[in-house]
Symmetry: C2
Subunit: 658 residues, 2 copies
């Protein structure tokens, strides 16, 4: 009977296949094909749900931090295809970022504060991206990301997907997850992770940890026209020497406030070879750490009123001032919290203590009432008032072992990653998220992932308007999920169908070029209208016409003493001029304009033996300066396959011996 049914089905599906456009290639039906592939029904469905046909677009971009690659990766969802890696903190030869061009070199060099660092920084640990927002929703203008290793923050312009600025934050040595933008991108926030000595030398013995080390919450003002950091209007708030960790902005009802988790409020310093405990033991001793609750709107007023100190070039509100002015409060949070995430309406602040099987949901209205009533259970050692735990908590949900991060949908559900359980818990929030009182703060279901999830993301899931639809688990281990690629395994993005009930895994996506931490997912149509071709002669750093641009016919070489300036055009399939004659020791400044106007007509410019490599998009101007230290005949060339005669797009740099 089954065999007969299958035969009938096969025949009929063939007809349905024809109905679907009449282009079936193999003659048989989809179910036959799925069976021949060895798929279960669920797998065949996943194939159809994740496939994006050739030439069609994904529904979402996913912007992923690259972790210690230092970059940002852009994926399409649901296909999970890598659309682009944007170089941020680390040079990238393909895009000519950091290989002799003014753009990359300027951005990278600008990202090293010479007073702070032992050497020029050529990498970063890109951790927590923050898409710019308008009224709490992604607006697709810019994206900010921090360098966990060196306490820096960068801005990427989503007009051309290029990094335009890196700022090395004073008074901050490292920064983990404390990055967010305020709802109208007034500020990009970054906080310190490990506290740093405030001494002039930057050094203090660990015995002086309590007195000499301090954390900082940094509010980097954003220029609304350009997205750049406005250092003059930025400020910091001094914090106790805890490890300030993940953070999020208040929104809607909690607009004007920010929230930072902390751990190691025990102030353990390790010393496992000196008779002490390792930090992992000392830092988990206390049952509670402190959720930092910061009134940034009021802090900005305090700074405007002149109530600050300047430290290492930054306006700082000292800790005591922050306390006195009512800018900073603590709430106890179960031990060693990881994520703090504000719900779409801004009412709930969800905290995961990673050594507590419960998530703890704070209620912003209750926090405000407790502050108003001075409902404190005391202060910490530095005098910061601690709100009464029971007065500010809306509910707790037992979700499983190792809860880390939380995202949201529009139906009042929250999703929390569970590192130790390798799972995601779905549960309800409370009435302020539209959940009936009786259904509030209840576990709905748990879905296993493979393996050891860190962050997770839902579509636009940290905005005021989450989309639901897709969830991605960022799994730190992949073990046996992919074929062998050596001793370093890729991590694993797992795509989950949020519309299925129960939740279903659709796709495993190996991450072969970095170690993502946080990611954000934004609708594709919020970005597809952005820049595709530069106006002729554009300097991407200023997005205005470059003073060094040339048009066809204006190419020239100017010599002044031992300085040679060449104004070069690039077009299919030659550079003009294509012979550059200099003398050993000359300073050589190349100004290259890609005079193409066609979309995708990018050229490269590479010089052998000189470590020079540029990528020049249509309309773009790139400047390259170097000293001709070595004599020889060097065949410079277009390094981007551009045309049938691409290989012939070559010239000669002739460096005559002195």
């Amino acid at each position: 009977m089954v065999a007969v049914l299958a035969l009938v089905a096969g025949a009929v599906i063939g007809v349905v296949g024809a109905r679907l456009g009449g282009e079936t290639a193999t003659g048989g039906g989809l179910a036959d094909l799925a069976e021949s592939q060895g798929f279960t029904g669920q797998q065949a469905e996943a194939a159809l749900k994740t496939f994006v046909p050739p030439g069609e677009y994904d529904d979402y971009y996913m912007f992923a931090s690259g972790g210690h690659s230092g970059q940002i990766m852009v994926y399409g969802v649901p296909s999970m295809r890598l659309l682009k890696e944007i170089p941020v903190f680390t040079p990238d030869a393909w895009q000519g970022y950091g290989y002799g061009t003014d753009q990359g070199n300027t951005v990278l060099a600008g990202g090293t504060n010479a007073d702070k660092n032992a050497t020029e920084l050529a990498w970063g640990d890109a951790h927590h991206p923050a898409l710019s927002e308008t009224e709490g929703d992604y607006d697709g203008r810019w994206i900010y990301i921090n360098d966990r290793a060196n306490g820096r923050i960068a801005m990427v312009d989503l007009a051309d997907f290029k990094t335009k600025e890196i700022v090395d934050i004073p008074n901050v040595s490292t920064s983990h997850g404390g990055v967010f933008v305020t709802p109208n991108t007034e500020y990009a926030h970054i906080s310190s992770m490990s506290p740093m000595p405030t001494t002039e030398s930057g050094y203090a013995d660990l015995a002086d940890y309590n007195e000499s080390y301090r954390g900082f919450s940094s509010w980097m003002a954003i220029d609304q026209a350009t997205g750049h950091f406005d250092l003059e209007n930025s400020f910091q708030i001094e914090l106790p020497p805890y490890t300030q960790d993940l953070a999020d902005a208040g929104k809607l009802t909690s607009y004007g406030w920010g929230f930072i988790n902390s751990y190691n409020t025990e102030r353990a310093v390790g010393g496992n070879a000196e008779g002490g405990d390792p930090l992992e033991t000392g830092a988990i001793a206390a049952d509670f750490d402190f959720l930092h609750i910061i009134n940034w709107e009021k802090a900005a007023e305090v700074v405007e009123a002149g109530n600050f100190e300047v430290r290492n070039g930054m306006r700082v509100i000292p800790l005591q001032t922050a306390i006195d002015e009512g800018l900073l409060y603590f709430a106890p949070e179960p031990r060693n919290p990881h994520g703090v995430d504000v719900s779409p309406t801004g009412d709930y602040i969800v905290v995961s203590g990673k050594l507590d099987p419960n998530v703890t949901v704070f209620d912003f209205e209750k926090i405000q009432a407790a502050i108003e009533a001075q409902d404190f259970q005391g202060t910490d050692d530095y005098g910061v008032p601690i709100l009464n735990f029971d007065s500010v908590v809306a509910g707790q949900v037992e979700v499983g072992v190792g809860p880390l991060h939380t995202q949201f949908d529009a139906e009042g559900n929250a999703y929390t990653s569970l590192f130790v359980d390798s799972a995601i818990a779905k549960y309800t929030l409370g009435p302020k998220a539209g959940v009936a009182e009786g259904d509030a703060f209840k576990l709905v279901e748990t879905i296993p992932v493979h393996y050891n999830i860190g962050h997770l993301v839902t579509a636009e899931g940290d905005t005021v308007a989450p989309d639901g639809k897709y969830m991605v688990a960022l799994n730190k281990w992949s073990l046996d999920r992919f074929p062998n690629v050596g001793t370093l395994h890729p991590q694993n993005f797992q795509l989950i169908d949020l519309d299925s009930n129960p939740l279903q895994i659709l796709y495993d996506s190996p991450i072969g070029n970095g170690e993502p931490h946080y990611v954000q997912m934004i609708k594709t149509d919020k970005l597809t209208s952005r820049l595709d071709v530069y106006p002729p002669g554009t300097d991407p750093m200023t997005m205005t016409t470059s003073e060094f641009a040339v048009a066809a016919g204006d190419e020239r070489v100017e010599r002044s003493g031992n300085v040679v300036d060449a104004y070069i055009s690039a077009t299919r399939s030659h550079f003009t001029p294509d012979i550059l004659r200099v003398t050993e020791g000359d300073t050589v400044n190349l100004h290259i304009t890609n005079i193409e106007t066609a979309s995708d007509a990018t050229h490269g410019f590479a010089v052998p033996q000189y470590n020079i490599e540029a990528s020049i998009d249509p309309g773009e101007v790139v400047n390259i300066s170097f000293t001709a230290t070595k004599s020889g005949s060097f065949a410079f060339y277009c390094s981007e396959f551009c045309s049938a005669l691409h290989l012939e797009m070559q010239g000669w740099l002739l460096v005559e011996p002195k």
Copy 2:
């Protein structure tokens, strides 16, 4: 009637869905789902053909050059998922390659020949990968790749997917596509692209191009135990100053021979701002260029017999010796050829003159006969004998405009990419490939691709045993195929079903992190048994136990004057020791052993402000040396998310001011 059929089909497919494992989630059938997704039947089939279910493995690895990224990318086929990016010529922070560790720094520094280059090279233009072979078939041991920008070649060990060696080839400035391995990996071949002056200064005026510039064919001997380059047993053959381009090894019937295309035999040098023509015009003047036919087996004997000169440390067979000894012959090839590809049996050598609509198929037996008979049509300007074109050609096939590269299947078909037409032509070879005489050298079909294809690959399609099954088009432009990611577009891998008739495109895969040129596709099961965890204390550079390895309990700090050696272990979730006390100006040598034995238990090691970043796989030993130039308290940390208490895996480098 159609509607009724559709309803029936829907019901029946539901049953089939259940038959496929009984796990259908949405209740409806696959055809319904495909229709709700808006797919044509062909698209739905492509979804099923390319999907690799979560946790299952792809059939093939595809090793892709990264182009001017300098790296190698490893994909799974048919899913087209990026499994790994292997850093080769360019530093990579994620994998700690070039950020303070001995391994990356040694490999990268070893890749700069100080006599040749103006500065240390920190990038490459990775062009043409060559998987190691045994008897002409991929064996999965090593992969070699050249640096088109700087004339270098690298070896990647496929035991751990790490780059172990880069050699900067003497007498070669640039190298495009002239890389292959001989059938038993006796040699990895690399040839020059733009010729280089043989003068001591490396400089010669372009007026002296004919006399002073020369090309070279380099035969890098391979140590069969380690895969490393054996420089003592390597040699070069001097060539005229043409642009030597793509190359391939003879196999089976043509074993012992190699083939190199050339262009710009006109020896044009450009000069478009000096009253001359651009190179793209001067280099296409002649109707024919020269296929270089080299007897490498005999050349090795000539070198063994001592008939060579040493130039810049390399054994060189001078051009006249190569002619005299019968090592080098030319055959005319239609103008500006790109690919030269040897058919699976070794009988046919397929050449694409990119300005000729025909592919030209040479017959190795005819070549041998013509050499034997001295059937020459003269010599070139340097005295190299030119075989009579008509005597050595088996056939020509008109394939379309802009033919570039050719791959093969096992059925006697060849596939040639057409850059200008944006298409691939499928056509038959001749009787020696098993094709009936009457069917030989005929166009079968042409499939459009999107857009502007460079290379292409079929599964194991350049070996003695091609698999057919899949073909990938490496399209240099993508234009409108993907959502906007700024002014630089990704390139596009298009996956094509070789089993469908006519050929069908299955998938568009954006390339977001480089610009691949050639790629090779190897069966997954040829590599899955390779190394997953290092034996304890392994130095990956030697694949033996490191003298700096420590076991748990042996960790220590040794001080001698101002040199500090710390022997550190890493395990979840601490380093031991976790406090390092040094004085400003000290030389600090860190020897870190990852003492984990579990697969995937990689740790990182990053030092803020010092630009130090390592990735340490389980069992691996990494050495880091630096001078403590800046005082301060630096919170070093594990940069790879390893455990629930990963964030607590932190220690202190205390650099006391002097």
